[in-house]
């Protein structure tokens, strides 16, 4: 089809005074394929848009070049306008002459503005329409992990009428909240009952995920329950696989046992009937390995308070800093102080030694500036906060990266907080790090709104932007290896030929595959090699 281009220049209400619009217009008018050049004062407003619409219709152009403000502001708006005019929105090329030209320099910048428009014009010539189609999504969600997070998400989703399958590795729901002392105590059984009663929640216990295929809106999940294999499809998957805590034997000079116990063991002791010989003095210690952990702070405060109330022991806490940035922790800390819990702050690692059935902690308190020696009956040691069992296997199965500590989700601002590099797969709660209750709740509500946003229209848009030329493809698997979103796969073209294919729904449009393809078989429409090179040549030609 013969290219017929219309160029719209916008002077942003006459404010871009350092660009000589009539002169640029004059230069552009005589270019090949250009039908007209319009100068407008306000393309983004109703009046400007109206004029633009009628101009596009009467001149019957098939490429639109707009020189205006940053595409960050106007691209979506103009794409919608083009769509209304039955013109493919990909046939639009923008030149950013406001932020990156008029505002970025002093003095007359007409020459640069002209160069930017010429780049957009040369790119526009090579643009091709991009087809969009709607694909139905399955209105059902899989939640993996039946702990606090998983149950809460299922309950919230069931209130929105979204069917949920809640999967748990153990034989009962509850996860870590069965063990934790303090925060969840009374609500725990009520919560499990509510989940079991909800009609839209199906519970599968003693089951594990063994495979996830497909893409957003239509994931096929293989589930193993004992010897039974279940194959199900879901629109989205939420992983709330949680964490585990561990006291490593090598971390302390004496073996954890009777006198030095973990926080989890303390919680178990507190839930059991009160022992006859209550320990008189108890020392808590944390911040030995990781200074960022909120979990030991919370567990220590809860434990210290419970010990005070139930056993009436003397309680001393040794730490670097009490982290009170999670919800409710400041209050707990004050309460602990009021109840008579004594806090010591150390800078250098305290020495711990055992003497008969008593444990001695020696530390230098930074506030007192003095050495503190405490002999106690029981020491409750900090636990390391670690990803739960099976996280590594699951992450390689899903092709999702983990951070240096083995948790899902590095703190990458772009996919943070709950989404992942695979669209439609979410990670929430403590499986992505030591969050504290406040942030766990935030995670739960943000994932619920993301899922609602995703599933409630019933369809997702599939934009056919990244294409593989199966004739050029030599099936070298490079794109499959590099794609960060697991969008590339091999497909059988005919009886002999196999070629790569990019799933448009899973694709997040980074163009890495197009850059690495050794056969140059992948074309990323809008940012294809030809279209980028055309812009470079346009700069070179001036």
């Amino acid at each position: 089809m013969q290219v017929k281009m219309g160029i719209f220049l916008c002077d942003c209400g006459g404010s871009l005074k350092n660009i000589d619009f009539p002169r640029i217009g004059g230069n552009l008018e005589n270019l090949e394929d250009v039908a007209f050049v319009d100068i407008s004062h306000n393309l983004c407003l109703g009046e400007g848009k109206k004029a633009m619409t009628s101009r596009i219709l009467t001149e019957n152009i098939n490429r639109v070049v707009i020189a205006a403000c940053s595409p960050e502001f106007c691209e979506g708006d103009f794409a919608v306008l083009l769509e209304k005019l039955r013109l493919n929105p990909n046939l639009l090329s923008l030149a950013n002459i406001r932020e990156q030209c008029s505002w970025a320099h002093e003095g007359d910048v007409s020459a640069k503005a002209l160069a930017l428009v010429m780049m957009a014009v040369d790119r526009a010539r090579l643009l091709e329409p991009v087809e969009t189609k709607e694909v139905a999504v399955k209105n059902e969600v899989l939640v993996v992990g039946g702990g606090f997070c998983g149950m809460k998400v299922s309950l919230e989703l069931s209130q929105l009428g979204i069917r949920t399958t809640l999967m748990e590795r153990e034989s009962t729901l509850g996860g870590q909240i069965r063990e934790l002392e303090g925060f969840y105590g009374p609500q725990r059984e009520a919560m499990i009952k509510a989940v079991e009663k909800a009609e839209t929640i199906e519970i599968i216990t003693s089951a594990e995920v063994t495979g996830v295929e497909g893409k957003i809106g239509d994931f096929t999940v293989r589930i193993k329950k004992g010897k039974k294999k279940i194959l199900r499809t879901f629109g989205a998957i939420v992983f709330a696989t949680g964490y585990k805590t561990e006291v490593a034997a090598g971390d302390f000079p004496i073996k954890p046992g009777v006198n030095i116990i973990s926080q989890q063991r303390l919680a178990q002791l507190l839930q059991a009937p009160t022992p006859e010989a209550k320990p008189e003095t108890i020392g808590f210690i944390f911040d030995l390995f990781d200074e960022n952990s909120r979990f030991p702070t919370l567990a220590t405060l809860n434990g210290a308070l419970a010990v005070k109330q139930r056993w009436g022991s003397e309680v001393y806490v040794f730490c670097k800093n009490v982290k009170v940035d999670s919800e409710g922790v400041e209050k707990l800390y004050r309460e602990a102080r009021e109840q008579g819990v004594v806090f010591f702050k150390f800078d250098e690692k305290p020495t711990i030694s055992a003497d008969d059935d008593r444990v001695k902690i020696e530390a230098k308190d930074v506030l007192l500036g003095e050495d503190v020696t405490l002999t106690c009956n029981l020491v409750v040691a900090e636990e390391k906060f670690l990803p739960s069992e099976g996280t590594e296997g699951l992450s390689s199965l899903l092709k999702i990266k983990t951070d240096s500590r083995g948790f899902y989700q590095e703190e990458n601002v772009n996919i943070y907080p709950v989404s992942s590099e695979r669209k439609g797969i979410f990670f929430i709660g403590n499986c992505r790090g030591d969050l504290g209750l406040g942030r766990v709740l935030t995670d739960i509500f943000s994932v619920v709104s993301r899922i609602r946003e995703l599933l409630s229209p019933g369809v997702v848009e599939e934009v056919d932007r990244v294409k593989v030329d199966s004739q050029k493809c030599v099936a070298c698997l490079t794109c499959i290896r590099v794609c960060p979103h697991s969008a590339a796969q091999l497909v059988q073209i005919d009886s002999e030929k196999v070629a790569a294919d990019i799933s448009q729904l899973a694709c997040d449009r980074c163009g890495i595959c197009a850059a690495v393809c050794p056969a140059k078989a992948i074309k990323f429409e809008g940012y294809s090699d030809e279209q980028i090179l055309a812009q470079i040549e346009a700069i070179g030609a001036l």
């Binding site: 940053s70 932020e99 990156q100 772009n414 700069i539």
Partner: protein, 130 residues
């Protein structure tokens, strides 16, 4: 072409930072030409070499900060390609310092200006800078 700096800007970070620089009235050299890319990882060696062939004084590849790429590895791949093109340029007798990669965030317009200014200073030293 006369002494332009061609900057490939990731639309998640550097392109937004360039916009913000304009908005804040931070001025940069006028010989800068920005090409928007969806991720620094989209920039191929051929793009960098073509820019040099067309007579650009320098080529900049600007991507997200380390570890913060939306596509996880895009900025790392871009840096590898920039290093490789430096080597190729040296082989044909062009100073490798004419190509550079910088990492910056969308909210760091000052870093964007710094990167462009630094490149411009280098060009003054190597010739064709303005």
């Amino acid at each position: 072409m006369n002494g332009e700096i061609i900057a490939f800007c990731c639309e998640h970070s550097a392109y937004v930072a360039a916009d913000a620089a304009g908005k804040q009235g931070l001025h940069c050299p006028e010989n800068l030409r920005i090409i928007r890319v969806p991720c620094a990882g989209r920039v191929d060696i051929i793009h960098i070499l073509k820019a040099m062939e067309e007579g650009a004084a320098a080529v900049l590849v600007l991507g997200c900060e380390d570890g913060l790429c939306q596509h996880l590895t895009g900025n790392i791949r871009a840096r590898e390609r920039v290093n490789y093109s430096e080597m190729l340029l040296k082989e044909v007798g062009i100073d490798g310092r004419r190509v550079a990669m910088f990492n910056l965030a969308a909210n760091a317009p000052h870093k964007f200006i710094q990167a462009v200014n630094e490149m411009n200073e280098r060009m003054k030293e190597l010739g064709e800078g303005k």
